[in-house]
Subunit: 83 residues, 4 copies
Amino acid sequence: MSLSTYIAACEKVLIDAGLKTALHSYGTNIEGEWDAVFAAVKRCHELVHEMGAPRITTTIKLGTRTDRDQTMEDKVKSVREKM
Amino acid sequence: MSLSTYIAACEKVLIDAGLKTALHSYGTNIEGEWDAVFAAVKRCHELVHEMGAPRITTTIKLGTRTDRDQTMEDKVKSVREKM
Amino acid sequence: MSLSTYIAACEKVLIDAGLKTALHSYGTNIEGEWDAVFAAVKRCHELVHEMGAPRITTTIKLGTRTDRDQTMEDKVKSVREKM
Amino acid sequence: MSLSTYIAACEKVLIDAGLKTALHSYGTNIEGEWDAVFAAVKRCHELVHEMGAPRITTTIKLGTRTDRDQTMEDKVKSVREKM
């Protein structure tokens, strides 16, 4: 089974969880509240194990901020305005 | 405030949560069940915000496996035996 | 200075190096040969230091493969076809 | 072939390159100059491909600082003093 089959299954998990996501070439951005995000990531690991993979490694780069609300689109816009 | 002050506070959170941890030079290894680990990581983010940092970025490399139990020590031993 | 100012400067470095890049909400994808990619990433660190930041942390998730050529677009397409 | 066989081979590459390294349970810390470190990491990827793995993913968290010298041991000590 190719990696993309597992990734596609995880994308569905994230979408079914009602999370805002954006698939890119080497990962998926997720925007949401902590508990909802990590419950969905846990479900992804469970599902990929159920699909037959005995070992899974995931890299998560996660950010939280308390100074203001900022969407995924805001982040890209903020960089583009300065280029 | 230096970064090490925040890291020390997080180490205490992880230890108080009863998790098995190992501080190294550029991160901390944590061994435990999913929910316990991520509840503690969430508490770390909350605490560092409470200490005054408005923005936090954390990189987590996480692994799960269903084929067998393997401790943090087992992982290092497994590599050393082959060197 | 906001983080986005540093990121915008790095985007320019990567583009000036002739690399194929794609900015997303929490990082930048880069496609290219090893030496060209890492020379540009090194230049980004040097530049951000020159701009005044004394400490920089970067997370790089990097993949190499020998079985076939695959572009950044191929990777996303491969997942989307299975969703 | 188990993952630890590949990791052991990479440890040897890093040591043969004269780099200061510290294997831990979920990665290896490397201390050194930029060019020496990344030349060795490139050699690791080449070797693991030569050993038969067609696809490799590596996560690197890297830090550079211009304000002062700090060893791997200094970093751990700095945290422990505050605990």
